[in-house]
Symmetry: C2
Subunit: 224 residues, 2 copies
DNA sequence: TGATTTCTGCGTATAAATTACGCATAAAAT
DNA sequence: ATTTTATGCGTAATTTATACGCAGAAATCA
């Protein structure tokens, strides 16, 4: 190996290139539990195994655009609130060739996004996060770290994605938090804490069909 | 454009590739202030401008290995405690070609790492973080976000890298925290807080030359 | 329908963590 | 020897978090 190959780190026309992919851990909140969207591979390698939806970053795409593209093209899901988690660069992650992957988490309400199986996948399914099948590649690690990141973010900001309807009760919000954090919270303390952050406001309406007729709230001019 | 080009997101032998680089915001703690290590470009583009040390990920290298390699080859600094921050994938970040960059922050004690100017750089220098020159590419954004991440991490863990000697006084630790966080802390409360975390222990020696002869401490079987 | 259950909204009591600051003492500086 | 400066240990005040009581509203049930 020439000395220049050892020490030259500059970006030149002929600099080494490799394939960069994105993987997105799409979390859905359904029937009060947190679920993860997985796709089943149609082709080798790992044919028939489950994994996170993902794919290559194409020419002219940013990683974020690639995530949108991949989700639509594999699952039919569009308009997903997503956030970058981490980059994985081990050299032997992929059996076909060297691949560097940028991971994301996404948040959706499954009812709003009917799954549309596209030609690149064998199957798509929501799995409860406590009942995940074995995953291909290093996708167990990736989904673990994505969930960790999601939990951290939930604790410091108000993150809903589109997981709740525009009008929601405080209890609905609390159940979402409990599902995301996998924890139980005191009803009255949660109310106080969330209200003093001034991120949601009472819209003066009440929700029928629930004992006590709880007040409805909405987001307070903030993006989730 | 063929349909397959739109929808195919699979990793194949001929999948699109691009150059991936790493950039590292190396922070140094010197004379009580936080500094950032910058290199001055020797060649176009941006010849003569300052920027973060960085370079391409080469065949067979992980991003972490590339950081080590880049730092040694540009600045002579080795054995840097570093951590991944974020991935930048905008398509026009680099004038020569499309480049995706993974950023890191590093922590060093400048006295321990004499700067050795290598052939790829015109100059290397430590800059006070409140007196940075204009930076090339999007390196202002990258260094800002790296510093943000460092501050966040400092608040939740005990992070020293190698910024303090093995034996240090609590005041020395406090000054480091103040430099990292750009804040002033109460001496007595800082002592209480840091001691109750049980991460450092009093080794029973005293430091001479300082009024009051403060106790010396050391890390308590933890990695920084 | 009337009693019962369940959930809401508002409150307070207690505990824990954070912040503010006093003071005697040890060593360096004058 | 006196002054100055920093340390080490303490306590008081404040803020934040946690535990839990209770009346009332609406659905449910006998």
């Amino acid at each position: 190996m020439k000395d220049s190959e050892i020490t030259n780190v500059a970006v030149t026309e002929d600099a080494y290139e490799c394939t960069v992919t994105v993987d997105c851990a799409v979390f859905g909140y359904q029937e009060g539990v947190l679920k993860l969207l997985l796709v089943q591979k149609l082709t080798d390698p790992f044919k028939g195994q489950w994994l996170l939806p993902g794919g290559i970053i194409k020419k002219g795409q940013t990683a974020e655009e690639a995530v949108d593209n991949v989700l639509v093209n594999l699952t039919g899901i569009d308009n997903v609130h997503h956030r970058q988690v981490k980059c994985y660069s081990d050299v032997n992650r992929h059996p076909v060739k060297r691949v560097i992957t940028i991971s994301f988490y996404g948040l959706v309400k499954p009812e709003n996004h009917p799954l549309i199986k596209k030609k690149n996948v064998n199957n798509i399914e929501w799995f409860r996060i406590d009942q995940l099948p074995p995953l291909a590649f290093d996708h167990e690690l990736i989904s673990d770290e994505a969930l960790q990141k999601l939990k951290m973010n939930v604790e410091e900001r108000l993150i809903l994605g589109e997981l709740l309807p525009k009008k929601f009760t405080i209890t609905e919000l609390q159940k979402l938090y409990e599902a995301l954090l996998d924890d139980r919270l005191d009803r009255r303390n949660f109310r106080k804490k969330i209200l003093q952050k001034k991120l949601i406001k009472n819209i003066g309406e009440k929700k029928k069909g629930i004992k006590g007729a709880p007040d409805l709230f909405t987001l307070n001019d903030h993006k989730a």
